[in-house]
């Protein structure tokens, strides 16, 4: 039985093909169109899924869209009544999106795919059911509590549910406009970052600050009950009326207007980031405790929804040990809804049995996108007359990469199937030596062209993760933060350095805080990816070779793109990104390319204008 899951028309559209309950293929449309967060009908991703599954549309048993437009319409009308005389903006800028696009999703899919073979096969799931299904069905657990948190989907912003075998059930929910996702987005927006892509920046900024606004936020903006449920004080927000997140009252509360994007980040924004982060952590922990209370002896928790990408909060939750095990859907944002929608149809709607072993998940390392064979890559290199080196043996290949890393080279690594979800996990990654004190600045400013304060994540050999970080669990999808092991830390007082630097974050960033400084954030935390030989044998062997050469079982892993660009998908995308930045080496499958041996790209001066800053 083949099921196609679709997410589209909001942000991060994606397609997923599920065959008999197993994920065959999954990809975000942005990777193909090269438009970050592309919301359009994912025709390229759909085409890829069909190709990967070697099927035609007529082979599909169902197409499942991840959101219910009828419920969304109900919410929209309800919101019109709330906004009343202030509803002009809603009508001018949201009505069309709801009635023209979402309500006609089935016709849009027919326009895109052709009618033959898909008529009477289109289903829609509730938005948070899609999230909950994406968290539970691919998880390793037979039984789990489910928490979903995002901006909003139809009426709902937050749910607590329960999954057992092939059935999930939502038990409790919080409805729009009371939303932790929208609260976080309001702070992202107010601090001068873009909603969605800027949420990570706010999270990365938080450790520099002190949560001095925490009490103020709790007093004025959100009421949190002991069971983790919450209610926003709508007087301070404007999103109910249209396209602005916050209002004058909100600005007054924080002593002035919104930070202008790309202007200097001040202590106010840093402390706001720290404060709202503390709120997110508090709510998540209280919700988990409440779920535990509701579900008694259930030992597992699964999470999805955009807020579940907050790896710092996930790390806090993990350390609290409310649940014995936690699994987070790697594509927790809307892209992951496509997976949940397809899996819900297969398991719950069709009542198919779910085979799980309690240990291994069904996400397949999230390596679910397109791969390119060595033959295809070599043809690409030859056709374009690019200079490359082919390794004669596996041992030579891995040793060479380890040597290059040790020589402080920055390497673009393009290998195997592209990752599904926002994190690069070693197949579309830029890698470097974490022991280098200069690597952080080099990567941020000369390769990624992004803000200097943003941290880099480590990939670590799973078997030695505890030697480097204070963790006793796996984190294969880079969705948990943990502290660098105390033994590896160097004396560092953030407050002192912040005072001396007069809020110049670059000078703070450059202070050495451990023996793996390039991946140690200012509070000693790191967003960790544990790597084992089963999920990604190639990446594991690279790490292993680096460890054998240097004694260090960690490397820097950041996504293979520049700021504002979607992660690379094809060898061509990878080559362009390599040539446009100060990256030293490109590894394409088994082929190694050196920057100094390449000819400059012709007529490519305008490339930065192509990517809108995120």
């Amino acid at each position: 039985m083949y099921i196609l899951g679709i997410s589209a028309l909001y942000h991060d559209s994606a397609a997923v093909l599920v065959k008999d309950g197993e994920i065959v293929a999954a990809a975000q449309e942005e990777r193909f169109t090269r438009k970050k967060h592309d919301p359009s009908i994912p025709r390229n991703a759909i085409y890829y899924c069909m190709k990967e599954g070697k099927i035609d549309l007529s082979d599909l048993n169902a197409i499942v869209y991840y959101d219910n437009p009828l419920l969304t319409m109900g919410r929209f009308i309800q919101n019109l009544r709330f906004a009343g005389s202030d509803s002009k903006d809603l009508l001018n800028f949201q009505l069309e999106s709801v009635v023209n696009r979402k309500m006609w999703i089935h016709s849009m899919l027919e326009d895109c795919l052709g009618r033959v073979g898909i008529e009477n096969k289109i289903y829609v799931t509730e938005h948070h059911i899609s999230h909950a299904a994406s968290a539970f069905f691919p998880s390793p657990y037979k039984e789990a509590a489910i928490i979903t948190l995002d901006g909003v989907g139809e009426y709902t912003t937050t749910t607590i549910g329960y999954g057992k075998n092939n059935h999930i059930k939502i038990l409790k929910e919080i409805n729009y406009p009371h939303s932790l996702g929208l609260l976080y987005s309001a702070f992202t927006f107010f601090c001068g970052f873009k909603v969605n892509s800027g949420d990570y920046k706010l999270m990365g900024l938080a450790p520099y600050g002190e949560p001095i606004y925490y009490e103020l936020i709790k007093e004025k903006l959100i009421d949190i009950k002991t069971d983790g449920s919450f209610c926003l004080n709508l007087k301070y927000f404007d999103f109910q009326y249209g396209r602005k997140m916050t209002n004058e009252r909100f600005a007054k509360l924080f002593g002035g207007g919104r930070r202008k994007p790309e202007s200097a980040i001040t202590k106010r924004e840093i402390d706001m980031a720290a404060s709202v982060q503390k709120i997110i952590e508090e709510v998540l922990v209280l919700m988990a405790m409440h779920a535990k209370q509701l579900l008694g002896d259930v030992e597992n928790l699964v999470l999805a929804g955009g807020v579940a990408l907050n790896c710092v909060a996930n790390g806090v939750l993990q350390r609290k040990k409310v649940f014995k095990n936690i699994w987070v859907q790697p594509a927790s944002g809307d892209a992951g809804g496509a997976l949940g929608a397809a899996m819900f149809y297969y398991f719950q709607h069709c009542n198919n049995k779910r085979a799980i072993d309690g240990i291994h998940d069904k996400q397949r390392g999230s390596y679910l996108g397109p791969a390119y064979s060595d033959e295809a890559i070599e043809k690409f290199l030859k056709d374009n007359k690019y200079c490359y080196h082919k390794s004669v043996s596996e041992i030579e290949f891995y040793s060479k990469i380890a040597e290059l890393l040790n020589e402080q080279k920055v390497i673009g690594l393009f290998e195997g199937r592209m990752e599904y979800g926002p994190r690069a996990l070693g197949n579309r990654s830029i890698i470097g030596d974490p022991r280098s004190s200069e690597m952080h600045a080099k990567l941020n400013l000369k390769i990624k062209y992004r803000e200097s304060f943003r941290p880099f994540a480590p990939s670590v050999l799973e078997e030695v993760a505890g030697e480097y970080f204070e963790m006793d669990y796996r984190s294969p999808y880079m969705l948990f933060c943990a502290d660098v092991n105390k033994r590896r830390r160097k004396e560092f007082s953030l407050n002192e350095v912040m005072e001396q630097s007069k809020d110049n974050l670059l000078s703070v960033v450059n202070k050495i805080r451990s023996d793996i400084p390039a991946v140690t954030h200012v509070d000693y935390s790191a967003r960790i990816q544990t790597v084992n030989k089963w999920d990604n044998p190639v990446y594991y062997k690279i790490l292993k070779a680096f460890e054998q050469l240097t004694g260090c079982g960690v490397i820097i892993n950041t996504s293979f793109n520049v700021r504002g660009e979607p992660i690379v998908c094809s060898p061509e995308d990878a080559y362009l990104c390599f040539m446009r930045t100060e990256m030293d080496i490109l590894v394409l499958g088994r082929f190694i390319l050196y920057k100094e041996e390449q000819s400059l790209l012709e007529k490519d001066e305008e490339w930065r204008k192509k990517y809108e800053l995120d």
């Binding site: 009508l91 949201q94 006609w104």
Partner: protein
């Protein structure tokens, strides 16, 4: 609409004005729950599984009306329902291609005005 902003909508201005008039007349600023010390929880129990997943196929006026009545919370004799159905049906034939152009144009407006891009903040 503020001066300088263009209405990119495919929807007839008259219908928008009518819906606005309805919204103005039906205004209820207390429709959403507010912060309360008396409440011990803000959770709502979810009981029905009926809407978890549904087949989605409505294309005729009658089918759309039936589906909206069933799922959107509007009743058959709601004045707004007729207008909503009217624009949904109207949009069906105006939809192709136009929306993608609108998104690009709208991005430019949004950048200038420092508001959240609709393609990101779109719910």
């Amino acid at each position: 609409m503020k001066s300088g902003e263009k209405n990119m909508s495919l929807i007839n201005d008259k219908i928008i004005d009518d819906i606005f008039a309805w919204a103005e007349n039906s205004e209820d600023r207390h429709i959403y729950p507010a912060i309360s010390d008396e409440k011990s929880s803000y959770y709502v129990n979810k009981i029905s599984e009926e809407t978890y997943m549904i087949e989605y196929s409505g294309k005729t006026l009658e089918q759309i009306k039936k589906a909206l009545v069933k799922y959107s919370g509007l009743s058959e004799d709601d004045e707004i329902l007729k207008k909503i159905i009217m624009i949904i049906c109207q949009c069906r034939y105006m939809r192709k291609e136009k929306h993608s152009k609108n998104i690009d144009k709208q991005r430019l407006i949004e950048e200038e005005k420092e508001i959240i891009p609709n393609f990101i903040y779109n719910f």
